[in-house]
């Protein structure tokens, strides 16, 4: 194993690349190239991590740990397991993809690409940090660029969308911050690992009660529940889980294509990642106690967002709701996995299946959802801003390749066997059916509705008579095909050999299971 501080270097690449892009922003072409080169370098770095990653070990890898703020006992502590690795890989993949999608962005391209790189740095940092203090720095670092990307380059109602996005996410963050400060006040710890150790035997609840209990909270359980809810809120808004999702449709719909791809492909994973990395290990008892309501929320998210997508007439909004629907499956898997089982029956296989499914789904959804937004962007670009479901028809004849690749993406997204989406959803349902049968059963409704609206897109846009104004519809250019090629390839590859990812995610899933 390398002795270089790989994770720090990996985070620095987009950060410095972003600064370089800013400095070159007076020359749009140069700044674009610098930014793209930086994102490719980051991708290479992520690939290197993957190559060096030891799938046989369940512990943290590439660990870096230095004392940082001594008086507060804060360490600079980095490390990844399979989950972290998958997320880093995913982010590194999505960013160049998103950059290509926004290659011809109109206003101040230098700033646009720099912001994307800063966002990438925030993502890398979030997925590798193991101490709340700097993890939170990165968590918020992702937010500011996203705000400006929406605000400055978005659609007609961008202001409102950006502000809503910002305030919602920050409200969640503040709740989480307060909760973590309460934890720190009680334990003096910010380190996720150490906190998980404390929490494993209910120590966190006791410590919280010893410090903060009394006047405000009469029982240990209620206090711990409030702290849990604070942290929960931060992740629930980000993911999002209904009913904390109302920022999402307008943010995704108003953002420029590249930004929507990043929001859905990578940033929504921050929320799910938080559930896995932080909430499960730190609050196993609370998760378990609130399992039923949480499952209800996940089911509601799945079914209602699918139904909402079905009701939309705007392709981008459909993609937004569909993205939420897919995140819902991840949360379903997580909430099912906390099921308390009878003594002697560990159900480890089912729980591991669910968690593996969650991680696969995160990865696969990152690919398919961002590809979907990419296609919507292309449609918008070619039609001069139109993206209504009913504005098109018969494009299949004019643009067969376009239609074919979009079809593949749609099928990957709805989970057709052989494509990437299937494995994740299959494992999630395989795990959650025995663990939380009713929730899984109701959630299949979401699968059904998804299939309906996905097919509706295919039918309305690509079949039927060609409208006369679209007869000259341009098929995918070579550049666009090249942009899509890696992503489409991955959709097949992961669908056919999911083992590539499972070998990485399984040790991580088993490690998370040990916490509860």
């Amino acid at each position: 194993m390398s002795t270089l501080p790989l994770l720090t270097l990996l985070t620095l690449v987009p950060l410095l690349g972003g600064v370089a892009t800013l400095l070159a922003s007076s020359r749009p072409n140069l700044s674009r190239r610098i930014a793209f080169a930086a994102s490719l370098l980051a991708l290479a770095g992520a690939a290197l991590l993957w190559a060096e990653f030891d799938t046989g070990s369940a512990g943290w890898q590439f660990v870096e740990r230095y004392a940082w703020v001594a008086s507060l006992g804060i360490d600079y502590h980095l490390g990844i397991d399979g989950l972290g690795l998958l997320m880093v890989l995913l982010s590194a993949l999505i960013v160049p993809f998103a950059m290509l999608a926004s290659w011809n962005i109109g206003r101040i391209p230098g700033l646009y690409f720099a912001l994307i790189l800063f966002l990438e740095a925030g993502l890398f940092g979030t997925f590798t940090a193991l101490n709340f203090f700097h993890w939170f720095i990165y968590w918020e670092l992702g937010l500011i660029p996203a705000f400006f990307l929406i605000k400055m380059w978005g659609g007609p109602r961008r202001s409102q969308a950006a502000v809503q996005f910002f305030i919602y996410t920050l409200a969640g963050s503040v709740a989480m911050l307060l909760a973590f400060l309460a934890i720190y006040a009680a334990t003096g710890l910010f380190d996720f690992d150490q906190l998980a150790d404390v929490a494993r035997h209910g120590g966190l609840d006791n410590a919280l009660f010893a410090t903060l209990g009394g006047s405000l909270f009469k029982s240990k359980e209620s206090l711990a529940a409030v702290v849990f809810l604070g942290v929960f809120l931060g992740f629930a808004v980000k993911a999002p889980l209904m009913p904390f999702h109302t920022w999402l449709p307008s943010a995704y719909a108003e953002a420029p294509t590249g930004t929507s791809m990043l929001l859905t492909g990578a940033m929504s994973k921050m929320g799910v990642y938080g559930f896995l990395r932080i909430l499960l290990p730190l609050f196993p008892g609370q998760m378990r106690a609130m399992q039923t309501p949480l499952l209800c929320l996940a089911v509601v998210t799945i079914v209602f967002s699918a139904a909402a997508a079905l009701a939309q007439r705007d392709l981008k909004r459909m993609a937004a709701y569909s993205s939420m629907n897919h995140i819902g499956y991840c949360l379903l898997g997580i909430f099912a996995a906390v099921q308390l089982t009878a003594p002697g029956v560990a159900w480890t296989t089912e729980k591991a299946a669910a968690l593996n499914g969650v991680m696969l789904q995160m990865f696969s959804h990152g690919l398919t959802a961002s590809a979907l937004f990419y296609f919507v962007g292309l449609i918008e670009q070619r039609s001069g801003g139109l993206r209504g479901l009913d504005d098109f028809g018969g494009l299949r004849k004019a643009a067969p390749v376009f239609c074919g690749l979009l079809g593949i993406t749609l099928f990957a997204s709805l989970g057709l066997p052989g494509l990437s989406g299937f494995v994740g959803e299959f494992l999630i349902f395989k795990g959650s059916l025995p663990l939380a049968g009713w929730a899984a059963a109701v959630s299949t409704l979401g699968l059904l509705i998804t299939a309906i609206f996905m097919l509706a897109i295919l039918q309305r846009v690509f079949s039927g008579p060609v409208q006369s104004r679209w007869t000259g519809w341009k098929d995918l250019t070579t550049g666009e095909r090249l942009t899509l090629a890696p992503v489409i390839t991955l959709m097949f590859l992961l669908g056919i050999c999911p083992q590539i990812l499972i070998s990485v995610s399984n040790p991580a899933a088993l490690a998370i299971l040990k916490h509860f």
């Binding site: 703020v69 001594a70 968590w139």
Partner: protein, 496 residues
């Protein structure tokens, strides 16, 4: 070396008077030179103190008899808390001059008063004789009045008078309390460390603490005695509002900590809950009022009240981490509020001649003045305490401390933070971004950002990020000091 910060500033102020009246250029460079020399002296002094820092001990700088009959001494000394605030003053002084580079009217007098104010502030932070501290405290009030009354804008006479009256009323309360302490202790000394050892009777402490604490806290913007702050900040010329928010408000907080809290620890515990409540009201109230202001400078003015609430809340937790956070917040807010006032007063107002959000909106500053917009956004981000900036570490510490003492109030403080986000986003939206493109005619009207402005912005932003990422630089100064003998009475509960 630290004591030289005081002498240099007063000498610089005196030197201004000797300059030819018409030479604005000379006055500027002279002022910059003086402020820089003060900052260098502060840095060198801090480096010298570094040796003592782990012990947190008080380093004597000067200690000579002054008015022997009354036991008053010219006693300058420093510990980690003083050093932190002296550094803040140095940085604020330099950036203030940089952002006043375009002062045209009576520049000589302006900078003379400015430097005298700085000298007084350094003096307060370094005095360990209460009489001396009080003298410096008063010295700082007079220039403040003139800076606002002569060079100010919006309702300047009213604002200057209000500020002066509030300050004087506050200092009168402090004076009464101090003299009472002097008399009651019967020890014929104004030495802070000597008086702090004296066990004042509880009944006396209760009212003496209230007098002295509130007297100081008026300047720190303690709700409901904060009303001088927004009007004063708004009326003051840029450099003066930077100093008002940047260091003068810290004088109040510093005095409250150094004098009121260590002298009367029993009184402190008696009023602890009430004052914490006022602090949190200040946090929420300041942020709520900032949310509805139409004048950009009023937004920043009220945000100062809100952020200073965190300082007072941190002080009232009486925990190591809360106090440390309060001192760090003093530093952090000094830097960040200074920057915000610089952006609003110098970078935006001097170019657009308006601070009304409704009039700024059509200008679309994000296109017209990209540098200004970027600085404003970063300053705003730092101000709302986003991680990576100094304010985050400070508010984090304050809130951790407050969780363990006032869990209920902590939740309200969190609401205050949220409101902080809201007013900042609102201001960005209104002042920087408009839906329409700016009219091409107006593009040439804005003068380009000058070099002094850039230098000042980089200095302040750099400091905020530096401390945000390596808070250890200051925490290694602050934490040991809070544990040292000079703050012992505060921890002991002070029952005689």
């Amino acid at each position: 070396m630290l004591a030289w910060t005081i002498y240099i500033s007063f000498l610089g102020a005196a030197a201004q008077v000797l300059l030819p009246a018409e030479s604005r250029r000379a006055a500027r460079f002279m002022a910059l030179f003086t402020a820089l020399a003060g900052l260098v002296a502060a840095l060198v002094g801090a480096a010298q103190y570094e040796r003592l820092a782990p012990s947190g001990a008080v380093a004597d700088l000067v200690n000579i008899s002054w008015i022997a009959d009354l036991g008053i001494r010219f006693h300058l000394a420093a510990d980690g808390v003083s050093v932190t605030l002296v550094l803040l003053t140095g940085i604020a002084a330099v950036s203030g001059v940089l952002f006043s580079w375009n002062i045209e009217r009576r520049a000589r007098e302006f900078f003379a008063l400015y430097l005298a104010l700085i000298g007084g502030v350094y003096g307060v932070f370094l005095s360990f004789d209460l009489f001396l501290l009080f003298v410096f405290y008063e010295i700082a009030i007079i220039p403040k009045y003139f800076l606002i009354a002569v060079w100010g804008s919006t309702r300047r006479e009213y604002a200057a008078m209000k500020l002066a009256l509030y300050s004087l009323a506050g200092s009168a309360m402090v004076l009464i309390g101090l003299i009472a302490a002097y008399v009651v202790s019967g020890s014929r000394t104004f030495e802070l460390l000597e008086l702090a050892k004296y066990p004042f009777p509880p009944a006396f402490q209760i009212w003496a603490f209230l007098l002295v604490f509130v007297g100081f806290a008026v300047l720190a913007g303690l709700w409901p005695f904060h009303t001088w702050a927004p009007t004063g900040h708004v009326a003051a010329p840029t450099a003066a509002s930077m100093l008002l928010a940047g260091v003068v408000m810290k004088l109040g907080a510093y005095g409250a900590l150094r004098v009121a809290m260590t002298l009367f620890p029993y009184g402190l515990r008696f009023w602890q809950n009430e004052i914490a409540l006022l602090a949190v009201i200040g946090i929420v109230y300041g942020a709520s009022v900032a949310l509805v202001q139409r004048d950009l400078k009023f937004v920043i003015g009220y945000s100062s009240v809100s952020h200073m609430g965190f300082v007072l809340l941190g002080l009232m937790t009486l925990t190591q981490i809360g106090l440390s956070g309060a001192v760090l917040q003093m530093f952090s807010h000094g830097i960040v509020a200074g920057l915000l006032f610089a952006v609003v007063g110098r970078m935006i107002y001097d170019r657009t001649h308006t601070r009304q959000l409704s009039e700024l909106q059509p200008m679309n500053l994000s296109v017209l003045a990209p540098f200004v917009s970027v600085v404003f956004v970063l300053a705003g981000v730092a101000s709302i305490g986003l991680p990576g900036f100094s304010g985050f570490v400070a508010e984090l510490q304050v809130l951790v401390g407050s969780w363990s003492v006032f869990p209920r109030l902590t939740i309200f403080a969190g609401i205050g933070i949220l409101l902080g986000f809201a007013y900042m986003v609102r201001v960005w939206m209104k002042a920087l971004f408009a839906e329409n493109e700016p009219k091409s005619a107006s593009i040439n009207k804005l003068e380009p950002v000058s070099i002094p402005e850039r230098a000042g912005a980089f200095l302040l932003l750099g400091t905020a990020i530096l401390i945000g990422l390596w808070p250890n630089i200051l925490l290694t100064l602050i934490d040991p000091a809070l544990h040292s003998p000079q703050f012992q009475p505060l921890w002991k509960g002070g029952l005689p």
